[in-house]
C-alpha cells in the first residue's frame, strides 16, 4: 500500500556506478527495494552489489522488465536519462539529480504527461513506502510504516519532521519528496489526490516552502474538495528575504509572490493546521487523529 511504489516495484538505477548511485543502490537493496538492473553506458556486462549493469535502458528492459527507475546521472544528462526510461515503457521515474536546467525539465514533463508517467523530482530525496520500498536517498531508520502520508519540497527538513513523527509513533504510509526545483513532476495536489484514495493513509503532512504558488493551489484544492483526510502543513522560509534563492532553485520569493505568509494564510483559510516549528507537526497530528 501507500502511493506510487510498493513491495512489488521493480526498479532500475540509472547512473548506478557513480558515487551516489552506487552508495544508494546498496542502501536501497538493504532496505529491501527490488533493484533489478543498473544502467551506465560503457559498463554493460558488469555488475555492482549483485545488480547487473547494462549500457542502455532498452537492453535492461529486455532482461529485467522494471516498472520504475531512479536517476543519479549528472544534471546535464538527467532529463535525457528520464526520457530514455519513459521511451522504454517505464512509468515511474524518480530523479534525484539536482541542478537540471528549467528548459530540460519543462520539455521532459510535457513528454511524461503524454506518456501518462509519474515523475518524482528532480532534486528530490525520492520516495519511500516504509517497510516496502525505498527509491531515494533518505536515511531509512527514521521512517516506520503507518498511516501518515508525507509530501514535501524539501529533503532534510522532511527527515527532521519524519523522525519526529516516528518518535511519536505516527508511522508513515508513503513519504514523497516533490523536489526543490521550480519545475517538478508531481505537485501537492497530485499527491494529495493519491493519498486521498490510498486506504493506508489516514492523515497527510504537507511540507512546503517559499517560492511559487503550489501550496496556495493545494490549500484551495483542500478547501474546494473538502479533502477527506486531516492535513497538517509546515512552511519553511518565513524569515527569507525577497529576491534571494534559498538553496533550492525553487525557493525564492519574487516580489510579493511566493512568501511563507501567503502560503500559511492560504492553508489556515482552508482549515489546515499549520505548524510553527518542525517539531510541532507531530503534536498537531496527534490532536487531529
Amino acid at each position: 500500500m501507500g502511493i506510487v511504489i510498493d513491495k512489488n516495484t521493480r526498479a532500475l538505477v540509472q547512473g548506478i556506478t557513480g558515487t551516489q548511485g552506487s552508495f544508494h543502490t546498496k542502501l536501497m537493496l538493504e532496505y529491501g527495494t527490488k533493484i533489478v538492473a543498473g544502467i551506465t553506458p560503457g559498463k554493460g556486462g558488469t555488475e555492482i552489489h549483485g545488480v547487473p549493469i547494462y549500457d542502455t535502458v532498452e537492453e535492461a528492459q529486455q532482461k529485467s522488465s522494471a516498472d520504475a527507475s531512479i536517476i543519479f546521472v549528472p544534471a546535464a544528462f538527467a532529463a535525457d536519462a528520464a526520457l530514455e526510461a519513459l521511451e522504454n515503457g517505464i512509468k515511474k521515474v524518480v530523479i534525484i539529480t539536482e541542478h537540471i536546467p528549467i528548459k530540460d525539465a519543462v520539455g521532459l514533463m510535457a513528454i511524461a504527461k503524454q506518456a501518462k508517467a509519474t515523475i518524482v523530482g528532480p532534486n528530490t530525496p525520492g520516495i519511500v513506502t516504509p517497510g516496502e520500498c525505498k527509491l531515494g536517498i533518505m536515511p531509512a531508520h527514521i521512517f516506520k510504516s503507518g498511516g501518515v502520508g508525507m509530501v514535501s519540497r524539501s529533503g532534510t527538513l522532511t527527515y527532521e519532521i519524519a523522525a519526529g513523527l516516528t518518535r511519536n509513533n505516527h508511522g508513515q504510509s508513503t513519504c514523497l519528496g516533490l523536489g526543490g526545483d521550480p519545475i517538478t513532476g508531481l505537485n501537492f495536489i497530485d499527491t494529495l489526490k493519491m493519498f486521498a484514495s490510498d486506504h493506508q493513509t489516514k492523515a497527510v503532512v504537507l511540507i512546503g516552502e517559499i517560492g511559487g504558488n503550489l501550496e496556495e493551489l493545494a490549500a484551495k484544492y483542500i478547501a474546494d474538495q473538502k479533502y477527506p483526510k486531516p492535513v497538517v502543513a509546515f512552511i519553511a522560509g518565513r524569515s527569507a528575504p525577497s529576491g534571494k534563492r534559498m538553496g533550492h532553485a525553487g525557493a525564492i520569493v519574487t516580489g510579493k509572490t511566493g512568501t511563507a505568509e501567503s502560503k500559511i494564510e492560504a492553508f489556515r483559510k482552508a482549515g489546515v493546521s499549520v505548524a510553527e516549528k518542525p517539531n510541532d507537526v507531530s503534536d498537531l497530528l496527534t490532536k487531529l487523529i
Binding site: I102, I137, S154, L157, Y159, P182, G185, E209, S239
Partner: protein, 382 residues
Amino acid sequence: MKLFEYEAKTILAKYGIPTPQGGLATSASQAKEVASKLKPPVVIKAQVLVAGRGKAGGILFASSAEEAETAANKLLNVQIKGIPVKSIWIEEKIQIKRELYFGITTDRFNQSYVAIASAAGGMEIEEIAAKTPEKVIKLLINPEYGFRSFHARQMATKMGYAGNQISELGKVLERLYCIGMDYDAELIEMNPLVETVDGKFAAADTRIILDDNALFRHQEYKKRLLEGESELSPQELEAMKNDLAYVKLDGNIGVIGNGAGLVMATLDTIQYYGGKPANFLDVGGGAPSEKTALALKIVLSDPNVRALFINILGGITRCDEVARGILEAKEKVGVTKPMVIRLVGTNEEEGKRILTNAGIHVLESMEEAAQRAVEISKQGDK
C-alpha cells in the same frame, strides 16, 4: 544570474528587437564621447543589478554630451541601494506613445513557460496584476511547439493592436521568446516595451535572468559571473564557486545546515525564539569535511556574527565528516565565536565522539539548539 541592462539590450538587438541607440561607458569622459554620437536628449542609466534603480536615482537625463558627462560623473560616484556604479549605459530618449509589458517566465503548476503581456507597462508586472488584473494577458506555452508567431499575434491583438501593428509587435514578442529559449532565461521581460510616437515598437528597458543551472550551456556568462561583476557579494560568490548555497542576511547568528528546507526552518526557528539569523548557508548533501570548513570560513567572514549555529541532520551527509570539518575549520580558520552544534543522523555517534573529545558540546534537539544560539547572540546586548 541577472544580466546587466547593456548585456540584455545587446542580445535583443542581435535578435532584431529595436532598442534605443546607445553605448556603454565606465568614465564620465567616455560617457561624453558616447553621448556625442547620439541624438539628444539622452538617458544615462547606472548599470547595477538591483530592482527599483530608477526610484533610487540611478537614471538621469541629459540634453547634450556635456550634460551627459556631468550626469555620468554623478552616477559613477554614488551607490545605488548600496551598490557602487561601475558602468553606465547612455542611450537616446525615445518618444513614447504608450508603455507596454511583455515577459516570459515559468509556470510551476503547469510545468511550462508562460508569456505575460499587458497594455499597461512601466511598473512591475505584479503591480500591474494587482492594480489592473483585467489588463494582464497570460498564455501558457506548449513546450512541444513553443511560442509561435500566431501566439504572438494573438497577444498583440489582445493588447489592443490592429492592422500592421499586429505583425510588427508580434515579431518583437516572438523574438523575445527565442532569446529566452536560446539563452535559458528563467525570466525575460521588456518593461517597458514601448510603442513610439511613430507607431513602432522598441524595448526601452529589459531584464533577463538566466537559469543558473543552465550556465554550463552559456560559458561566456558563467565566466562573467565568476570573474566579473555580478549581483553577488564576495561571500556569495565564493560560496557559489564551491557549490555552497549562501545568502547574506542582516542578523547576528551565523547558520550552517544541510538541506535548503532544513536551513530555512532553522532560520525560522531562530526568529521564532527572537533571534536574528546572519545568513542562510546550505552545505548540501554529502558534504566532505573541507566543505564544512569552508562554510564556516564564509559565515565567520561576516563581522556581525556573534554566534554560530550548525544544524546537521545526516542523511547522505555523514555526521563524522561534519565533525571533522568543524575541527579542521577551528584549526585553520580559528573559530573564536561561540558555536552551538546540533548533530543527528548518519554516523551520529562517531560525530559526537569527535566533537566531544575536542571539548565541543553537541545538542540533539533543533529547538533547544536554536534557543541556545539566540541566548548567546543576545549576551552582548546586556
